[in-house]
Amino acid sequence: MRTDAVVTFVQAMLLAVLQGVSELFPISSLGHTVLVPALFRWNVDEGSDAFLAFVVALHLGTALALVAFYGRDWLALARGLLASLVRGRIGEEPNERVAWLLVAGTVPVAVLGVLLESSVKRLFAAPLPVSLFLVANGGLMLLGERLRRRQHVNAGHPYRALDRLGMRDGVLVGLAQSLALLPGISRSGAAIVAGLLRDLRHEDAARYSFLLATPVIFAAAALEIPKLFAPDAHVVLVEALAGAALAGVTAYASVAFLTRWFRHNDLSPFAWYCIVAGGLAFALLVTKGIA
């Protein structure tokens, strides 16, 4: 009986790596979590309490990795937030402004996430629509890059530093993030594209996206913590602990890689990956009749 009915150890570790990588790479973690088990015909009971507890553990591992990576930034941001609250005004200090930009960007995704997530998942969290959304995710990133080039390279529009964004821009990035409620659309991809279109450089747009990810992933995982203590959760205890550690390590490595990547590169390779992977998945699902 043990974990075979929920998820095997090997499957658990593969899902942990997948979570750690795809949560931060702009390729949709939710999309991959739906597509990979379907394509490999894993007999995973995704609706069971034990599996949900396992998923919560993976998200906690990812969130902890982000906190570890941006630990100093978070301390400075918390100080900035407190200073502005005491003063009753958002000053010109970059950490104060970025802290409130994070609040502005988190509110839309929190509201829409809590109110709409279960309905959207019920409608779209099936392999076939997910494969199409993955293709759309790639298309959105390519379109975003094209618009950014038109804005900055052709029209000579100046870039802005992250702390120069207005609160309205922060809300817009937050709304773009909310597109990721659709499984197959990447949260980080949507946020980076929105940041680019609000005149950020790739490096700053990615930093904003990763900082925004921390409260979102933490809150989503923290609200589901009771599932870790569900009656069936103990059957995946080993898998959950090992998975959380592995997801954390891969998430840390991913964010370290991506922050370097976006210093000199753009979203195009990830966009093409999504288009090819989504298209292939769609073709396989249709021919195998899995949808």
Binding site: L85, R87, G88, R89, I90, V103, V107, A110, V111, V114, L115, L223
Partner: protein
């Protein structure tokens, strides 16, 4: 705007309590997450009030 901030904070707090006690008609039942969300929104409205009152006293 200060009054709007306070009114919104009170409304959000009431909605939060209604969600926690299962008295909101949509969706039916107790919804802890919805309650937490509206409590946080109420808190943010109070922060907005704080910013408004600090700027009006300057």
């Amino acid at each position: 705007m200060k009054q709007v901030a306070v009114i919104l904070a009170v409304v959000f707090l009431i909605v939060a309590v209604l969600y926690w006690t299962g008295h909101m008609p949509w969706p039916p039942g107790v919804h802890t997450k919805h309650g937490i969300l509206f409590a946080v929104l109420a808190l943010l409205c109070l922060v907005w009030y704080r910013f408004q009152s600090a700027s009006s006293t300057r």
